[in-house]
C-alpha cells in the first residue's frame, strides 16, 4: 500500500509540475492572470504531493515495509529510529526525493510569499524553478523510483551501511541539500531578471537572505560532514579532498565570492554580468556535484554506485548554461556597467581581488578534481590527484584570502587615500607582527603557519579596530553608554558586523586546519594489556579488553588510559564494531579532546596476544568544529530582520 500510494503521489506531483510549467509560461507570455493563478496553484499542489510521497517513504522505513526495495536495501529491523529517518537519504532514490522535496518547499514558499506582490520577477523565478524540479521528478518517475517493490517478501532488510550510522550523517546530508538546493532560488531570480530585462538590483535584494541561508547550510553541511568523516571513517582526518567532498566545497567557494560581489552591485551598480555569472556558476556547481555523486565518472567513497542517471545532470547543465549565455547575449544593455571603480585603492577593488582569489581557488579545486579524467584523455594514462596536491595549491590562495580579509575593512568605498590607509593599517600590522613574533619565540615551525598567524592577528585587529571606532562614534554622536553602543552597533549594522563575526569564524577555521596540518603526527604500535606508549608528552596505557554491545553492533576492543605524567586525564576505548548486516567490521575511533587538541585512537588489528593501535595527535582540530558556531552566529546576526526604531 505504501509503495502504491507513494508512487502515485510522485507521479501526480510530476504531472502537476508539467502542467504548472506550461500554464505558468503561457500565462506569463500572454499576461493572463487566470493561467498564472493556475500555474501557481499547480506548484503548491505538486509540493503537497511531494511532501506526501516523502511522508509515505519515511513511514515505510519506520514500519519496516520491506516490500519496497529501497527500504529493504537501506534499513533493517534492528536500526534505531534515528537512523531509520536518516536511511531516507542513504541511497540514490531517497536522496533525489529529498532534493526535490527541499526545492519544492522552497519554490512553494516563494509562491506563498509573493502572492500579493505585483512584481512579475517572483512568477518568472517560479517558472525557472519548475524545470529544475522536473529534472528530479523525471528521474524519480522514470529511473530511480524510491517506491519500486520487490518480488519476494522479506522479513529483514539488508541494513544501513554502518558508516552512515552516526549522528553526523543524520544532519550532514540534509544540511548540504538545504544549501545546495538553496542556491537554486538566487539562480532562478537572476534568470528572471535577465528574462524581464530588469536593470535594477531587485533580484539581489530579494535573494540576499536565500543566498546567505544556502551558504550557511552549505557551511554547516561541509563542516559537519568533515566531523562525521573524522569520527566515523577512522583515518584520523576530516577532509580527504575526495571528488564528492570537493563537489560540496566548490559551490561554497563561489557562493562566498557571490556574497561579497553583490555588495558592489548594491552599492555601485557594478559587476552586473559578473554577479549573474557567479550565481549561475554556483548553481551549476551544485548540479555538477549531484552529477559527480551519481555518475561514477570519478572514484569516490561517497558516490552512489551502479547509477546511470548522471548523464541527465550533464544534459541539464549544458541546456541551462546555453539559456543563460543566450539571455546574457540578448541583455547587453541591461548588463552594461554605467559606473566605474574610482580608484585602485578602494573597497571595490579589494572585493574584486577577493572574487579573483575565490574563483581561482574554485578553479584549482575543480581542476584537481577533474585532472585524472583530463590526463587520461590527453595522455591515455590516468594520473591521480591526492590530498597533498590540493593542500599545496589551496594553501597559498587560502592565505592570500586570509590576508585580504584583514585589509578589506581598512579601505573605504570609492576612493581611499594612501595616508588614511596606512594610518588604518598600523594597528593591525603591529598586532600581526606581535602575533608572529610571539609564535616564532615559541618555536612555531613551517612557513604557512607563521604567515597564517600573522594574517590572523592582522584580521582580528582590523575587526577590533572597526568595532572600537564604531562604538566610539556611537558614544560620541548618540551619547550611548559603552555597552549600549556596542550592542547597538551589532543590532543596527547587522550585516556588516555579522560579516565580521563570520570572518572571525573563518580565521579560527583556517588556523585550525593549518596548525593541524603542521603539527599532527601519528604513532602506530602494538600494545598489550599493562603496556604503555608515548604520544608526545602523553602516555597511553592499555588497561583492559573491551567486549560488549554498542547500539546494534557487537564491539570488541581495548580500554586505554590517557596519562599526562602520572595523572590520568581520560579513558579511550577504540573498538571494532561488528554489524549483523555488514560483512566487514568497522573501526570506531576513540577521541579524547579539549579545546586545543585531540588524541585520536583507532584499533587497527587485534589478536589473542595483543592489539595494534594507530594514535593521531591532532592539535587544533576542535577549532575547526568550533569555528562553525561562530559562523552560524555571524550569519544569524547578518540575516536577522531589521529592528524598527531610532538608529
Amino acid at each position: 500500500m505504501n509503495a502504491y500510494l507513494g508512487d502515485l503521489a510522485v507521479k501526480i506531483a510530476f504531472v502537476a509540475l508539467v502542467y504548472g510549467l506550461v500554464v505558468l509560461s503561457y500565462g506569463l507570455y500572454k499576461k493572463d492572470s487566470s493561467f498564472i493563478k493556475s500555474g501557481r496553484r499547480a506548484q503548491i499542489f505538486s509540493t503537497l504531493f511531494i511532501i506526501v510521497a516523502s511522508g509515505i517513504l519515511l513511514n515505510a522505513f519506520i514500519q519496516h515495509d520491506f516490500s519496497i526495495r529501497y527500504v529493504y536495501e537501506y534499513s533493517s529491523t534492528d536500526l534505531p529510529i534515528f537512523y531509520l529517518i536518516s536511511a531516507f537519504w542513504g541511497g540514490q532514490a531517497g536522496s533525489l526525493l529529498l532534493w526535490l522535496l527541499i526545492l519544492s518547499v522552497y519554490a512553494a514558499y516563494v509562491v506563498y510569499k509573493s502572492h500579493k506582490s505585483e512584481d512579475p520577477i517572483h512568477l518568472y523565478s517560479v517558472a525557472v524553478t519548475i524545470p529544475i524540479q522536473l529534472l528530479f521528478g523525471f528521474l524519480l518517475v522514470f529511473y530511480t523510483n524510491p517506491f519500486e517493490t520487490v518480488a519476494t517478501s522479506y522479513a529483514e532488510g539488508l541494513g544501513l551501511n554502518p558508516m552512515l550510522q552516526n549522528p553526523g550523517m543524520v544532519i550532514h546530508p540534509p544540511a548540504v541539500y538545504l544549501g545546495y538546493v538553496g542556491f537554486a532560488i538566487p539562480f532562478a531570480y537572476a534568470l528572471a531578471a535577465l528574462i524581464l530585462d530588469r536593470r535594477d538590483t531587485a533580484w539581489i535584494s530579494l535573494t540576499r537572505k536565500w543566498t546567505i541561508f544556502a551558504w550557511l547550510f552549505l557551511t554547516i553541511g561541509n563542516i559537519w560532514g568533515g566531523q562525521w568523516a573524522y569520527e566515523e571513517l577512522g583515518w584520523g582526518g576530516y577532509w580527504a579532498w575526495d571528488p564528492v567532498e570537493n563537489a560540496s566545497l566548490l559551490p561554497w567557494i563561489t557562493g562566498t565570492a557571490f556574497l561579497h560581489s553583490v555588495m558592489i552591485q548594491e552599492r555601485k551598480n557594478l559587476l552586473k554580468t559578473w554577479n549573474i555569472a557567479l550565481v549561475v556558476i554556483t548553481f551549476e556547481l551544485t548540479i555538477l556535484g549531484t552529477f559527480l555523486t551519481r555518475s561514477g565518472v570519478l572514484a569516490s567513497v561517497h558516490a552512489f554506485s551502479g547509477s546511470d542517471v548522471g548523464r541527465f545532470f550533464l544534459i541539464f547543465i549544458g541546456l541551462s548554461v546555453f539559456v543563460v549565455i543566450f539571455l546574457i547575449g540578448r541583455r547587453k544593455l541591461m548588463l552594461r556597467e554605467n559606473r566605474e571603480i574610482e580608484a585602485l585603492l578602494s573597497r571595490e577593488s579589494s572585493f574584486l581581488i577577493n572574487n579573483l582569489l575565490f574563483v581561482a581557488l574554485a578553479f584549482a579545486v575543480l581542476w584537481g578534481t577533474f585532472f585524472p579524467l583530463i590526463s587520461e584523455f590527453v595522455t591515455g594514462s590516468e594520473m591521480s590527484i591526492g590530498p597533498s596536491f590540493f593542500n599545496k595549491i589551496s594553501t597559498p590562495i587560502g592565505l592570500l584570502i586570509l590576508v585580504l580579509m584583514g585589509i578589506c575593512p581598512l579601505i573605504s568605498w570609492s576612493r581611499a587615500s594612501w595616508g588614511n590607509f596606512t594610518r588604518n593599517f598600523l594597528f593591525p600590522l603591529l598586532t600581526g607582527i606581535l602575533a608572529i613574533a610571539t609564535a616564532l619565540l615559541f618555536g612555531v615551525k613551517g612557513i604557512a603557519l607563521p604567515i597564517a598567524i600573522f594574517a590572523s592577528g592582522f584580521v582580528v585587529a582590523s575587526i577590533l579596530l572597526e568595532v572600537i571606532r564604531g562604538v566610539r562614534a556611537r558614544q560620541r554622536t548618540r551619547k550611548e553608554t559603552l555597552l549600549d553602543a556596542f550592542m547597538n552597533l551589532f543590532i543596527r549594522q547587522r550585516r556588516r558586523y555579522g560579516g565580521y563575526i563570520i570572518h572571525l569564524g573563518v580565521v579560527m577555521l583556517l588556523l585550525g586546519i593549518i596548525v593541524h596540518n603542521t603539527y599532527s603526527f601519528k604513532v602506530q604500535e602494538e600494545i598489550n594489556i599493562g603496556e604503555s606508549i608515548d604520544i608526545g608528552k602523553y602516555q597511553l596505557k592499555a588497561v583492559d579488553r573491551v567486549q560488549g554491545r554498542k547500539g546494534n553492533a557487537e564491539v570488541y576492543g581495548i580500554e586505554l588510559e590517557l596519562l599526562n605524567g602520572n595523572k590520568k586525564i581520560g579513558t579511550l576505548k577504540p573498538v571494532k564494531a561488528f554489524y549483523a548486516t555488514a560483512e566487514q567490521p568497522t573501526s570506531e575511533p576513540a577521541i579524547d579532546g579539549n579545546f586545543f587538541r585531540d588524541i585520536y585512537v583507532i584499533l587497527d588489528r587485534y589478536t589473542e596476544n595483543g592489539f595494534t593501535i594507530a594514535v593521531y595527535y591532532n592539535p587544533f582540530v576542535p577549532w575547526i568544529w568550533t569555528s562553525l558556531y561562530l559562523m552560524i552566529i555571524g550569519t544569524l546576526v547578518a540575516i536577522a530582520e531589521p529592528i524598527r526604531g531610532k538608529r
Partner: protein, 163 residues
C-alpha cells in the same frame, strides 16, 4: 604619480603571492615509511592515501616500501618501481615532468591571468573615469570662458544691488 601607485600595489601583491607559493613546504612528514606511503594513492579505489587505508592493497604496498627501504633503495627508486607496477595512477600527485607539470601550473596561470584581467579592468575603469572628469572639466571651462564676462557682470550687478 598614479602609475607609481599601481606598480607599488602590484609589487606588494606579487611579493605576497611569491611568499605564499612557497608556503606549502610547511607540511612535515615524520615517519620514514609514511614519507613514501603518504605519496601514494591506494589502488583499492577508496581514493585515500596508502598510509591511511587499511585494505590489503595498502598493507601489501607498505610492506613493499618497507622491504625496499631496508634494502637501501632511495625514495625515487621505490616510487619508480611502484609506478612501473601500478602506473602513474599510484602517485598521489603528478610528478613535475611531462603532462604532470600542467596539473601544477594551470591553477597559478589561472590566478595570474585573472589578476592581470582584474588589474587591467580597474585601471581601465579608472582611466575612463579620469577621461570623463577631464572632459567634463574642459567642457565646463570652455563654457565659462565664453560666458565668463557675462556672468561676472551679472554677479557684480547683483552684488551692487545687494549693497
Amino acid at each position: 604619480m598614479k602609475s607609481k601607485k599601481y606598480y607599488k600595489f602590484a609589487a606588494v601583491i606579487m611579493l605576497l603571492t611569491l611568499l605564499l607559493i612557497i608556503a606549502p613546504g610547511a607540511f612535515a612528514v615524520t615517519q620514514p615509511v609514511e614519507r613514501i606511503t603518504d605519496k601514494l594513492i591506494c589502488p583499492c579505489g577508496c581514493t585515500m592515501i596508502v598510509s591511511e587505508c587499511k585494505c590489503q592493497d595498502a598493507v601489501k604496498i607498505t610492506g613493499f616500501v618497507e622491504e625496499k627501504m631496508t634494502g637501501g633503495a632511495t625514495d625515487e627508486q621505490i616510487l619508480d618501481a611502484l609506478v612501473e607496477n601500478y602506473g602513474e595512477k599510484i602517485l598521489a600527485e603528478p610528478r613535475s615532468e611531462g603532462f604532470g607539470i600542467v596539473a601544477w601550473v594551470t591553477p597559478f596561470i589561472g590566478l595570474a591571468a585573472g589578476g592581470v584581467i582584474v588589474f587591467l579592468l580597474i585601471r581601465n575603469w579608472n582611466l575612463k573615469k579620469q577621461r570623463t572628469n577631464e572632459k567634463a572639466d574642459d567642457l565646463s571651462s570652455d563654457v565659462l570662458d565664453d560666458k565668463d564676462d557675462k556672468y561676472r557682470e551679472k554677479i557684480e550687478k547683483d552684488l551692487e544691488e545687494r549693497d
